[in-house]
Symmetry: C2
Subunit: 325 residues, 2 copies
């Protein structure tokens, strides 16, 4: 089934997602971006693929469509005004905004605003992604489905940042001194987003209290010298980040190590329960590809979800397109 789509946010992820949507047979019927240098340009030109219309600066100016793919910022307070006009007029929203994975706990007012707009428009609004959105939250829930009872959950993800985009290597602090890393952390806004949202989603699924839950961030210090195309890491300097979240009891621990030269990259879920389950995704899901893919795969199912602000827990099974040849 071909969807009409508005691409909102024309950064690298947004452009890649829109192109892949077109390659799947969907139609890009408009685009929105806050950059004045893009506004007024042909969407087809900006994307480099078949598309209709010109880039507008406001959701209100975009045409009607089945789904808006929102790949703008991580901060939900800033994403709400983007989503509400789409939702109100019956355009479903799928977004990679990290704070949208499970916003009810951290941002109840913004959540209610989205929920009301979505119900008014008779469509669903969903945040998804690989992390947050799948590996450290949705997947542990799904893997518990055939388990009698769970006593603790430990999910971790090890990513070799050296094999990823330059901006990602910068984001994880590769090449910084430990003191510089500490300064960045103290300044705020540094590192990967969405751990608390993953924890909130897990706690919602398992009916657990999130009071006293906390996040952590620390550097991974390199014991070897590594040079990539984008970063130079000396012995004793920062190779990347070690971040995560845990609930107050320590029964739920979510953990990401994303650093240059990471050994044994993988996604691993351990459920201590009856029985004990350990599941490994060899090599781990590739962040950019997977986030793009899960958002598109969700967009293809979002019209069957019940109207309102939804989470991955509410969704029917998403799946990839099967391609012959």
């Amino acid at each position: 089934m071909s969807l009409s789509i508005i691409q909102v946010g024309l950064g690298p992820i947004g452009i890649a997602m829109a192109r892949k949507a077109v390659a799947r047979g969907h139609r890009i019927v408009g685009a929105v971006d806050s950059a004045s240098t893009l506004q007024g340009r042909s969407v087809a030109d900006v994307l480099g693929c078949a598309a209709l219309g010109t880039v507008s600066g406001s959701p209100e100016d975009a045409p009607h469509a089945d789904v808006a793919l929102v790949t703008t910022v991580s901060d939900l307070e800033r994403v709400v005004p983007t989503c509400v006009p789409f939702l109100r007029r019956g355009t479903a929203v799928v977004s990679t905004c990290e704070e949208l994975i499970y916003p009810w706990k951290s941002l109840p007012v913004a959540s209610r605003t989205l929920d009301e707009a979505a119900r008014m428009g008779g469509v669903a609004c969903l945040g998804t992604g690989i992390n947050p959105g799948f590996v450290l939250d949705y997947l542990p829930v799904i893997l518990s489905a055939p388990v009698e009872e769970v006593r603790s959950i430990h999910a971790w993800r090890v990513v070799d940042a050296g094999k990823r985009r330059g901006p990602l290597q910068k984001k994880v602090g590769a090449g910084l001194t430990p003191a510089e890393f500490a300064q960045r952390v103290a300044a705020g806004g540094f590192g990967h987003r969405g751990f608390m949202e993953s924890l909130h989603l897990l706690c919602a699924a398992f009916g657990l209290d999130t009071a006293g839950a906390s996040t952590f961030i620390e550097p991974v210090i390199s014991d070897v010298a590594i040079t990539t195309e984008h970063a130079s890491v000396a012995v004793g300097s920062v190779a990347g980040i070690h971040q995560g979240a845990r609930d107050a009891s320590g029964r739920i621990v979510l953990d990401l190590k994303m650093y240059v030269g990471a050994l044994n990259p993988a996604d691993i879920v351990e459920l201590d329960g009856t029985p004990r389950i350990r599941v490994e995704v060899q090599g781990g899901y590739h962040g950019d590809i997977a986030t793009c893919a899960i958002a598109l795969n969700a967009a293809e199912k979002i019209r069957s979800a019940q109207p309102g602000l939804r989470t991955m827990l509410d969704m029917p099974a998403l799946c990839a397109p099967f391609v012959r040849g």
Copy 2:
């Protein structure tokens, strides 16, 4: 939320499931079984736990409840008359009947009958289990959610039958000669059930044709002598079964080896696609525990599913209860 439950089928799995339901705080308000030796007995006596009523021989005689747990036979044609009276009067059905995993293709008439009864009662009817129901069908779909495109799916399960119940060891033919195994296969009804249903569920999710799909069954011949509590396997005799299904193109291959002395038991899913994904459940889910657990976990969500005959693909995320201590 405490459910009122009718346990239908009082074999080992049914009794275990009902007891676990009670341990979770649900109420068994009745039971049905075809064995005249059980009919009229106190349900509490038969289950060995708190329960109401006496065992009846007919669904019509059972009281109203939220959910009927149906653990009777694998043959859907025989399960339909059991389920319909429950569904019509608004009791949801969760069953471990293998043919109920995805019955639309093989048994469209029975499927429509169940679907109509469920819609009439405003409740859902679901088949679930670990295999079929999860490892070789639902899990590969879920693991594809963050994948850009899939070109082939290979899922397999290796079970050490020597660590399972005596009836299971008998079911897989442990200790038979190859000639006896061939006779059992030729006689029909031998081996594990549900491979075609798993294939149908996968094909439904991925929009693939099932024409020309086939199943296979062959013995695993032992190259060592093994004696378990329940079976004695000589060198050159049958240790167990190798069974599965594949679509006509060979792009989807589902595979079960269940034999005494199995090396490296595990559940493994490989998706060849963009990117390629390989996921391993170390040791594999334990069949009896997992089937019992997933049915109960499904029962706890079945009232939120849309009325009608449903499959795992339609369900929101199931999860295990989280237990402190």
